[in-house]
Symmetry: D2
Subunit: 248 residues, 4 copies
């Protein structure tokens, strides 16, 4: 099918190789499972990429053929080269590439640089999380009930020092007394960004049917728009035209 949405699922992909318990949950990597459930949809195809791949998995020939980039990183944010961050930022801002940042990616250079934030939050022990649907009219909430429960997930909590989102789709309750804005949409340049909180490497959240639906919805929402003109890469000068000649 010619017009599938081309997703690249990027994963730091180290926990799954170094930790037996994580490996038991995600034997093909978190990105491997994401590919698997996304590709049950006819309109989506997924390429895998990892930090330790050549060119960190994202050489130009991959990035330039990516409609939506999914990003999972945790302990090695500092190993991601600045020029890769800049290339991603450029592609989101001027080509409209979608960006979906998962869980600990809140502190990635990519999220911080694209959205404009330090991504700070507080965190704590794994516990029960209940995800609440705050905006059922939003495309990313399609098919999602008013709430669903993750029996075990890492605590992330407010204040989350991010910009107020263009749409706040999900919010979460945590057992120990904390809440978190867990699903946030940002429009940046010509592109769209979605941050989603669940997905600690030692928790099986990406196996949850609602989490899978949310990520699938986000891919469709974040794909590049059909632009009616060429988005400029810089700040072009407008040639003066007398107003009577405008659009003639």
């Amino acid at each position: 099918m010619a017009n599938k949405i081309r997703v690249t699922a990027w994963n730091e992909f180290r926990h799954e190789k170094s930790n037996e318990y994580v490996k038991s949950i995600y034997p093909d990597g978190i990105h491997g499972l994401i590919k698997q459930f996304l590709e049950t949809n006819d309109d989506i195809e997924v390429t895998l990429a990892a930090l330790d791949d050549p060119a960190n998995g994202l050489p130009d020939e991959v990035l330039n053929n990516t409609d939506v980039l999914i990003w999972w990183g945790h302990m090695a944010h500092h190993e991601v080269p600045d020029d890769l961050v800049e290339r991603i930022r450029h592609r989101v801002y001027t080509k409209g590439m979608g960006l979906i940042v998962l869980h600990s990616g809140h502190h990635s250079k990519v999220f911080r640089g694209v959205v404009g934030t330090n991504g700070n939050l507080s965190w704590g022990r794994d516990q029960k999380e209940i995800v609440w649907n705050l905006l059922p009219s939003h495309p990313i909430a399609a098919g999602i009930p008013d709430h669903f429960t993750l029996d075990i997930e890492e605590l992330y909590c407010e204040p989350f020092y991010v910009p107020q989102p263009d749409a706040l789709v999900f919010g979460s309750w945590f057992e120990d007394g904390f809440i978190f804005r867990s699903g946030l949409c940002y429009l940046r340049g010509a592109g769209k960004v979605f941050y989603f909180q669940p997905g600690h490497e030692s928790c099986p959240s990406y196996h949850n049917e609602h989490v899978q639906r949310i990520i699938t919805n986000a891919v469709r929402w974040a794909k590049p728009a059909e632009f009616g003109y060429e988005i400029p890469e810089g700040a072009p000068m407008m040639q003066y035209k007398p107003i009577d000649e405008f659009d003639k």
Copy 2:
């Protein structure tokens, strides 16, 4: 086709009957032309409704089978019954019916009641308008160039005393020194609302290809979401469950 988007195009439909010049531009009424260009799309079907129809064109059997309601009114806002406004408001808020309000509908009871505004603005003589694309990543801007010109349109100008929109998609320049936020998205309850400024009865704006594309895009954007649960009509009490039993 079973799953077409069911649009009802409501028009005050008096100018086109009383004024020969208006009739020459819109011989089938503004709503008639809207039906015509929307139905060139396979996924949209349009029902016509007018103020002077029985039940003002919107008895329950029509309204309950409407996915997106388009509203054009001007001189007879006060003739629209309050209970019809309330039925529309209810359907937007709890069923997710989309609402597209055109031009002078800024002062309709429907727009004021659904969005929460008095809809005040200033206005003046017909003149050249240039519509600028402020948010090319938005679905309603799909296929629209960075700007397009309407040679003659009624002046609407700021300050426009509406709430800040969830998305500001278009802004307009007017020859005499004025600007106007001309394409605005509002999320209200379970529904979506789009206001679009062009469309004075004596101007041929609905014949413009970009205006037609914008309204078509807006229909697709505003259609009811796929809700994953039943949106309540009131404020239900939650039965207490010990948290250990939540979602069991």
Copy 3:
């Protein structure tokens, strides 16, 4: 002091007369306590008003001398006359009167009519609530810690079918597994609106120091702006001027 902020604290004021327990918490009424803590500030003066007062406590001579209206209602929303709602709405939209809606006022005609919402939410048994500070840079969060606890408050929970706010200042955690957006700012017409969730009649939340600070902050935030021109009451026509004559 000439330039005090003139607050009118409106209360349904029935629970405190009919229920001994409520009376023990708020012997002077909820509005009486609000007056007491607000007037510990030199820049604020408070007038009391209640549903059963003549003209429902809000004749024109009161409303026209109100900078910020505080609204607490619960069981008698339907007894508030529609024309009073319309007068409040008009004063917010065109005079910039501030409006602070508390707790069960989410279902008042005033909140619904001014903001554009049905105000629906879910609710349940009284329980522990923890209020989280989501936007410490906002004036309404001045002096508020990152969180504070209310040992007992009525459960209000998501989905809350309100418009996305201009600023989401507070969010709340509830013991039984629920969350709620509990402090929301809306700009409407020339005015400002703040909704704050705590304050069930049988809970002592208005005695809490942080709740008092939040309401005090909200009064200062919501007071009418210093307008540099006269806000119009309708939609005035702009006289045509050749652009060369503009502002001459």
Copy 4:
């Protein structure tokens, strides 16, 4: 007066030294004029800083004593060191320092890095600009009429590829057929950012009374909030406490 708002007005300050015409408009530099009109207010004191000063005018002892930083840059954006940008970004995000970016600063590293944008726009010949007041209830619009005219200003025009602002306060009309969102508020981390478009070096806009009032208003709006707790510099771990012990 102990509690004055401490403004640092930073200027690239080269045009005023190299170009006689610019020098004739701003003999003390753009920042010099800004200092002059801001200090007519009792509550504001201004320190001057320039690109060619030691440490680019912003050593730690200056930056750490700045409540609001005003930024004017144009041709030498690339000469601003990355670590200075990072120090500003950190101070906005975690100390709540206000940031006011003027005119060509849309392309500065500071604006791009703090807000999350490439700052792209189009531009053209100097011409008449009319600034419209889109949000008269906002503190930055205090005392500003519904519009005012700048007889000559550089054309900046849409699409402006910035994030949708938290508040859109001003919009501008330009003679040649263009519009621009010219006054935008962003909340970022614990800080506030205002971008304002007028102020080309060869135009006398900073002598305009309304422009002066807007910048004065913006200083008061952007000053650091009164935080009720210490904003963290990173992502602290929350120690587990049984919920019954929360806030005991």
